[in-house]
């Protein structure tokens, strides 16, 4: 944070929280789709 402030960048607390929420949600989407793909794998007809 101090290093970023020295570069003129001041992250806001709400920005950090929003970035964390968004990042977590996207990771969850990826994991969910992978799980779904495994579940559907047994139905492959080829």
């Amino acid at each position: 944070m101090t290093q970023m402030a020295s570069m003129g960048v001041h992250p806001s607390t709400s920005g950090v929280i929003l970035a964390a929420v968004f990042g977590t949600a996207m990771v969850w989407v990826r994991l969910w789709l992978r799980r779904l793909r495994r579940a559907a794998g047994g139905a492959s007809r080829r």
């Binding site: 970023m4 570069m7 003129g8 960048v9 992250p11 806001s12 709400s14 920005g15 950090v16 929003l18 970035a19 968004f22 990042g23 949600a25 996207m26 989407v29 969910w32 789709l33 779904l36 793909r37 579940a39 559907a40 139905a43 492959s44 007809r45 080829r46």
Partner: protein, 536 residues
């Protein structure tokens, strides 16, 4: 009245459409459309709704969630190609099925036109002199012929790709879509971390509330709904998805979640990084401008966002080609348009004729849009004209889908529904219990408001949209009269046999069993009633 064997026509014969879309492919098919919609819509919506853009996106997003859930229920219950057109046909009959089909077809052809124009626009970021090269053609001035030619070339490329087959196009969607999701996520995460100023967002919102303008908000919200067109694609993919009843609800809900997240994140980020005025004149590249303002990654953001825009817009146009061809394929099978369209290519087993014809309609739309030249400030009007027509088709089609969903709960209670739109009210009628989906009632009201906003505020959309549907209706009337089929009435179809065939072909044997048991229970009840009447 003519009788058609719908069951025989929808089965998965050797000449039918292939089922080889995977979970990731099904998800990306929808995302390919929606991700690019946000790219194109963000600047337009901010320019229209100004400081209230986040509210416009949120309103349109809530309506979109309800549309998405309605599509999820219908696509999982009826996993056949056709999307909204099929649902309207099934719930409301031939005529309304045709109206929904023609409205959504308008969207797909514009999808092809708008996104190839936008994609080549991003390519021209590297060669600005090409985009700015204009000539006069007769009475038309400032026609950007090279940009127009580039867009046409991209459509021809997509025709070639799609005629080869679903696997090739699906693979393209998957690879490019995956890169774009990572890149967009990076822009949002870096943006929130290093460039977002909550006080800027709050002050813009505060000013907007003090100077509220319903006209601006309505125009913005109706444009925002165009950033959510994509679920139609996933329902179109339902026929080509393995285990549709299991996969479609989950991929659809994941897609709804992702898209809502991206739309609200991008709009909140944009107005927390820049004042809305900064987006004026940047309707074509809002994401590139936004990325450019982010510290650390902003240095390479210009060319990077341009490449990103070009790819994601191209895969969205690709989704448009696939969906338009599959929709017309479905419409021909239900005798809304000639069976001539209903021919699968012998070698590639794809609906090659519909791909070529409706992509050519997209090419014509591109050419007509470019003839409009530039506005007073020198900005090209092609994208604005195409975007203006887009929302009409979407809101008309979605309204019919909501009505069909509600009616089908009453007319077809026996089809197993692996997923149901939540918030249902139980109603008892003639000894049977039905469930009225309250969320669909709300959704129908919301999408009606958006349709009203389109008619009230979109100067080109309110004329060109109905004109397209009228033109399609004239063809429909001619075709149905020639075939001696009812114009406003419906062809008698055996939906129960068809539903059994669809479930069997999809290998959803559990659902098939449940469906047969439900029909048998109904037959028993009706037998008991008959016996009771005889005894009485």
């Amino acid at each position: 009245m003519a009788v058609m064997d719908a069951a025989g026509k929808s089965g998965g014969s050797e000449q039918g459409l292939r089922r080889d879309v995977t979970v990731w492919g099904s998800y990306m098919w929808g995302y390919a459309d929606v991700g690019a919609d946000i790219y194109a819509a963000l600047g337009l919506v901010i320019a229209a709704a100004q400081g209230g853009a986040v509210a416009a996106f949120a309103f349109a997003g809530l309506v979109y969630i309800m549309i998405g859930l309605a599509y999820t229920e219908l696509a999982a219950t009826y996993p056949v190609a056709g999307g909204g057109q099929f649902f309207a046909l099934r719930g409301l009959g031939d005529f309304w099925g045709f109206v929904a089909g023609s409205a959504l077809l308008l969207d797909y052809t514009i999808d092809i036109a708008l996104f190839t124009v936008a994609s080549s626009g991003y390519v021209n970021f590297f060669f600005p002199q090409l985009a700015n090269f204009t000539i006069a053609i007769g009475p038309f001035h400032n026609v950007a012929v090279i940009w127009c030619f580039e867009a046409v070339l991209l459509v021809v490329f997509l025709i070639w790709l799609n005629v080869l087959g679903i696997r090739e196009s699906s693979l393209l969607n998957e690879i490019l879509g995956g890169i774009d999701i990572i890149a967009e996520s990076s822009i949002i995460v870096f943006g929130f971390l290093f460039a977002w100023k909550p006080e800027l967002l709050a002050s813009q919102w505060h000013y907007q509330v003090q100077h509220w303008n319903w006209g601006h908000f309505a125009y913005g919200a109706s444009l925002a709904i165009i950033s959510f067109v994509g679920l139609e694609s996933i329902s179109q993919a339902a026929q080509e998805t393995r285990r549709p009843a299991t996969i479609v609800p989950r991929t659809s809900i994941t897609l709804i979640f992702t898209v809502f997240l991206f739309a609200t994140a991008f709009s909140s980020l944009s107005l927390g990084v820049l004042p809305w005025q900064a987006f004026l004149g940047h309707e074509g590249d809002p994401v590139a401008m936004l990325a450019h303002k982010i510290p650390f990654i902003g240095v390479v953001a210009g060319p990077f966002a341009a490449m990103l825009g070009a790819t994601i817009l191209l895969i969205s146009a690709n989704s448009g080609v696939m969906s338009a061809s599959r929709l017309t394929f479905s419409m021909s099978r239900f005798q809304f348009i000639s069976e001539w369209f209903d021919v699968v290519h012998q070698k590639y087993r794809t609906p090659a004729r519909t791909i070529a014809i409706f992509s050519t309609v997209g090419i014509l739309q591109i050419m007509l849009a470019f003839l409009a030249g530039t506005d007073e400030q020198g900005h090209n009007k092609a994208m604005e004209i195409l975007g203006n027509m887009y929302a009409f088709g979407a809101s008309t089609g979605y309204l019919l889908v909501f009505i069909a969903l509600m009616r089908l709960r009453f007319t077809d209670p026996h089809s197993p529904r692996p997923y149901k739109v939540p918030l249902n009210v139980k109603i008892r009628l003639n000894g049977n219990t039905y469930e009225l989906p309250l969320l669909a009632v709300l959704g129908a009201l919301g999408v009606s408001m958006i349709l009203f906003m389109v008619v009230a505020t979109h100067e080109i959309g309110r004329i060109a949209g109905p004109a397209w549907i009228l033109m399609c209706f004239l063809y429909y009337a001619w075709y149905r009269r020639r075939k001696k089929l009812p114009l406003f009435g419906s062809i008698k179809r055996n939906w129960e046999e068809q539903q059994e065939a669809v479930l069997r072909e999809a290998e959803e044997f559990d659902l098939l069993e449940r469906y047969k048991m439900s029909l048998a229970a109904r037959a028993r009840r009706s037998g008991d009633d008959d016996a009771g009447r005889k005894q009485g």
